[in-house]
Symmetry: C2
Subunit: 343 residues, 2 copies
Amino acid sequence: MSIPTLEVVARAAGVSRATVSRVVNGSPTVRIESRQSVEKAIAQLGYVPNRAARTLVTRRNDSIGVVIAEPTGRLFGDPYFAEVLRGIGAGLAAREVSLVLVLSQSPDEERRAARYLTGGHVDGVILFSLHGNDPLPEHLQSRGIPVVVGGQPPHGARVSYVDNDNHGGAIAAVNHLIEQGRTRIATITGPLDMPAAVTRRLGFLEAIRAAGRTPDANLEECGGFTREGGQRAMEVLLQRCPDIDAVFAASDLMAAGALSALHAAGRRVPEDVAVVGFDDSIIALSTQPALSSVHQSMEVTGRELANVLLQTIDARDQVVRHVVLETELIVRQSSGGPPTGKN
Amino acid sequence: MSIPTLEVVARAAGVSRATVSRVVNGSPTVRIESRQSVEKAIAQLGYVPNRAARTLVTRRNDSIGVVIAEPTGRLFGDPYFAEVLRGIGAGLAAREVSLVLVLSQSPDEERRAARYLTGGHVDGVILFSLHGNDPLPEHLQSRGIPVVVGGQPPHGARVSYVDNDNHGGAIAAVNHLIEQGRTRIATITGPLDMPAAVTRRLGFLEAIRAAGRTPDANLEECGGFTREGGQRAMEVLLQRCPDIDAVFAASDLMAAGALSALHAAGRRVPEDVAVVGFDDSIIALSTQPALSSVHQSMEVTGRELANVLLQTIDARDQVVRHVVLETELIVRQSSGGPPTGKN
DNA sequence: AACGGCCCTGAGAGCGTTCTCACGCGCACG
DNA sequence: CGTGCGCGTGAGAACGCTCTCAGGGCCGTT
């Protein structure tokens, strides 16, 4: 019982192929009785349109590519990415659009991916975790392929993007630490070739200045967005400035590393040193004590990415759209928040 | 500069469409000079085969579906899933096969997914995190669509699968605890409608018996594979049997919850209670103390899934293939392993 | 010199859609 | 009663590829 063609359905319904096609695609210019007889035939025969044939003539693919470019595997351990995918799935659910995942983890695969994407196999592309100035978004865009970037795009490229408010989140985190009476606040940054890392750092500096203090370069160390990097950075910071009483880590993973280092150094958290992370991922709940963190809903981010992309595809325009999503500071024990309570 | 067709390439190379097609598909019956001239034309014009047209005639899609059915969002927080995807991507990389992600998180989306998959849009399907006796694998199989299940398939269905050695891993974990001199070993299980949870529990029981001890139902509590569930289960266990000196949790997430509960109850880990988790996910390194855990490489699992599926598709047979991957116990501080050292 | 075989090639049909165009019908209008 | 128009419909080309089949060229054999 394989899938019947339009032709077969047409015969069964006593009409022409064209009419069946019209019914399938919801054209209004079909007599009600024709429509009903076609619908009955479709139901009986279990007809499903052949996507390839449709694509061949319409030049639409009804699928979008999601590119995760992560050569280092860096963010891959980070669970945030699964959530984004779920969000994208949710954003796509209302439409018959499918999601093609393109992993590119080596220069070789990167070339393949680029070829695939420019080969007209997808109607649009969502790009992720870009580094430095990856030329891919502009390259795709110049080929007329709608593109949306998750996170800030590299180096002011003229590309649509959906991002979290990294800047505002960092400020909220630092203000919180200041309100807790902390005076020597350090930061562990991400790799500064990633826009999100840069922006979080700038938020940190701005909040420090806004409080009338002078940023101190000694209170800053890169943790590379990894757990180990965070741990090492914390060790360096403690050695350099033993009087640190608070740390803002630009990711939960790095915050977890910092907690280990603090523990090893015999500092109590939050009594001696308060710690705030960023992402509010599952990791924030697994640490001891539970980690205060800047929450960003990656699922909402994903949904928004899908929306913006679909909008761009539908409009067929070259309008660059920007969406910045709010973040929210979740206070837990690591920064002296509610000692127990809502985890 | 849109993508040229076979026709255009043929004209440029001074041959017919058929010959170009032969070159593209690597047919050996092409004169060397024809081939070269075609290859040159392809390179110059930037030709890429149109997949839709190809699919239309060959009835191959060159794409496989990966279904993540996770209505509860339960495993989604778990980062393991990103790794599996990466593995699948790696397994597919050698071939021009793309990966279509199908998220189904509601009964509605589930129906859509089933329709999509049976609609002939993919050459094969990888299924994930199935519950109870999900009929989907058998349904697809009966429609002639190659299927591979990640993890144990529901209820002895006759379906290919790739699984980790949950049984052996659990035994290794418990044996380790026994060797450490622990005498009252409890377990926190996953939801017993999931095969992996059942198997890990059976491994636990078997190891207990193999040591000449008698399993005690009081030393067993379900944690539902969630962090909160693990915490609650640990509280229940401590209340029921205050003399517990070791816990085997069937997932890292639950182990993390158990650590919180132990901490709250003033028990020292590992001095008073040793803890071993399962999965060796990123969480195992974020806990304090670092968690001993049964390691399973989800990336290898993913790669193997892709391999088995491709094999089945190529062979066009209905042979049911089973692959069981080794697990390995990683000992860290939570079970009294190396006090520092390799994290 | 005629013939069979092999190697390479090209013509052309066909895959299942969509979409343009033209046609037949019924109706209102002049 | 002819003309024009809108509505619903069908015929048929087109999309870009694969694959079968037939045929031309060249060899060795009889």
